[in-house]
């Protein structure tokens, strides 16, 4: 069986309101899947549930990563096993520098008793910093504190590059970015593409898909995948609008 992040018939509620309503999707390693959908369709909820956000209740369905049940793991266990979420609105961590934060994150992935080699760590950090067109001095700023929208998104991708997850979920990484910042971020993501990583790209607009070209595109409406297709589906959606996609909402189309 191909290694994949597999979601089956997932139902999610928050405060008794059902947000995800029977969603199925599989993101195999080596592929980039885009989920597009209008505001309120449940895209960000899906991202948070995959990462284990405690505010959401999974009422039905399953999520497995390479066959392992993800839903019974704590958020940090999921992270260490290879799930990465690039947040739409990343939190500030006042007083903690990017370098120290990432160091703690990398350290947390090492076996008990093993100490991270500082020189190797910094060599890798600076390599990734350059990849994203950032200045080294950036790593001594406190995580997201006083960052512009673009800086925050780039910091998310820097962390993605450093932590080398098996599956990355990018939640509206393109929102609030100007075209230059978008290109840099896309370049960073593209350089990480490869057979060992599956990427789930969540977006409202098709613009980012010009730069990160997906293998598959899914349209999410009212908590379900209503259409799935190739790259061309995004363009069609752009042309015809979400109302067209909604027409299919009555009969959900599942993909495997």
């Amino acid at each position: 069986m191909k290694k994949a992040l597999t979601i089956e018939n997932l139902r999610v509620t928050i405060a008794d309101q059902e947000i995800v309503r029977g969603l199925s999707l599989a993101v195999p390693r080596g592929e980039v899947h885009a989920i597009m959908g209008p505001n309120g369709s449940g895209k960000s909820t899906l991202a948070k549930v995959l990462a284990g956000h405690p505010d959401y209740q999974v009422t039905a369905g399953s999520v497995t990563m390479d066959g392992e049940n993800l839903l019974e793991l704590e958020p940090d266990e999921r992270a260490r096993k290879g799930i990465f979420l690039a947040f739409q609105y990343p939190s500030e961590v006042p007083g903690v520098t990017i370098a120290n934060f990432l160091r703690a994150a990398v350290q947390s992935r090492l076996p008990e008793g093993e100490e991270l080699e500082a020189t190797d760590y910094y060599a890798k950090l600076y390599e990734k910093i350059e990849l994203l067109g950032m200045d080294r001095s950036f790593t001594s700023r406190a995580v997201n504190e006083g960052f512009s929208g673009g800086e925050k998104k780039r910091t998310e991708i820097l962390q993605l590059a450093m932590l080398e997850p098996k599956y990355a979920i990018l939640d509206e990484t393109d929102s609030g970015l100007d075209i230059d910042a978008l290109k840099t971020v896309a370049h960073g993501v593209n350089s990480l593409r490869g057979p060992d990583i599956g990427i789930l790209l969540i977006t409202h607009y098709q613009r980012i898909l010009n730069y990160i070209v997906p293998d598959h595109v899914h349209v999410m409406v009212q908590g379900r995948i209503v259409r799935s297709g190739g790259r061309e589906l995004a363009l069609e959606l752009e042309e015809r609008g979400y109302d067209w996609a909604r027409e299919g909402a009555a009969e959900p189309v599942f993909t495997r």
Partner: protein
Amino acid sequence: MKTQTKSVDIDRSAGDFAYPEVHVRDAGAGLSEKTVHYISDVKEDPDWVREFRLRGLKTFLEKPLPTHWASKDLETINFDKIRYYLAPGTGAKRSWDEVPEDIKRTFERLGIPEQERKFLAGVEAQFDSEAVYSNIKKAVGEQGVIFVGSTEGLKNHPEIFRKWFGKVIPIGDNKFSALNSAVFSGGSFIYVPPGVKVKHPLQAYFRINAENFGQFERTLIIADEGSEVTYMEGCTAPKFNTTTLHSAVVELIALKGAKIQYITVQNWSANVFNLVTKRGLAHENAEVKWIDCNIGSRLTMKYPSVVLKGRKSRGEVLSIALANNGQHQDTGAKMIHAADETTSNIISKSISVGTGRATYRGLVHVPNHLKNCKNNTECDALLINSTSRTDTYPAITVRGTGNAVQHEASVSQVSAEQIFYMQQRGLSKAQAMSLSVNGFVNDLVRQFPMEYSVELKRLIELEMEGSVG
């Protein structure tokens, strides 16, 4: 996201262990003139000290507990159950080899001899009421630096001791300074001759080992003109079910152009009432700096002060307090400006965890007739849980026209989203908390000496580890 809290397991911390008592001198439980005479007899006090103690006792008995402004929890201290003097009767040794084995192993377990070899210019180790070890590096001693226990200082250097003793903090300053004056024992006596700059820190370690016990050390540091010294104190006690009282008095005198830096690394167990009076006197162009970190204890009341007596003198208090479940850190700083062109700086950071409560009390006083005085006060509080509490009582009186003050205060909270974000990067909840707390104190800790900041970081990690479910 809910953060579960449970009481902190102090057992994890390195200080929670106790070997059987080894004392041959014991003043018994309760406080009376008899207790004071017992202590004076054992210590062979000169008459003036005996009288000083008796005045202390009288004042202590007369003064009410300060519960009109401070915590009512003070009323739970049973002064009749406490033992006021316990000593092994061995005197302070100059070599660890001479320290009785059963006492030595306590300090070895706390890592004191090792630290001494690594980076200290001198060490004094106090076990319950008396110093059991005190030694200073030969080169430092040859410069004329005196570093001994207060008992020994009083005996061998009466001419310096008597001149300054009780002058910065009078007996009647407060109820607990009066108590200390009555039964004081142990603590350090330091004299640094003019122009001598002691490069490495001198360290004292205060260890409470006995149950139902009160430790009342008295420290006196005199930095003569143009000299410099850094003093570090560490404190621990095992966790007993009964109350332990620690009530020290610390007096610092920085003569013209001298600099004293006084660093406290306190990690009391949760049964300790820590009621300490600390004050420094800064003469012309002198500097007194308190670095004060309060972790643990049931109730700490401590407001390090500087009296800026001489022109252009400087005072500074940098403090961090961590109040865990059931603990109350009532701390702060006082700056009394008494000369022109004096400057003071207070930076206070507190962290409240679980049901912990942190209180900041500050007093800055600049009278009308002074010119060109400056004060900067910053106090920041971090709340970890919704049950955590913080209060700030800054009292700033600045009169006259040529003086400047600046005051900033903030309260922040570690949000559930922040913790989730950090967990998503692989950190456990406890690691995320501890990193957040370290981030909060980071800019302050950067100003501390290296060895101290490492120790502090470790203590914060231990506390935070126990505080999340």
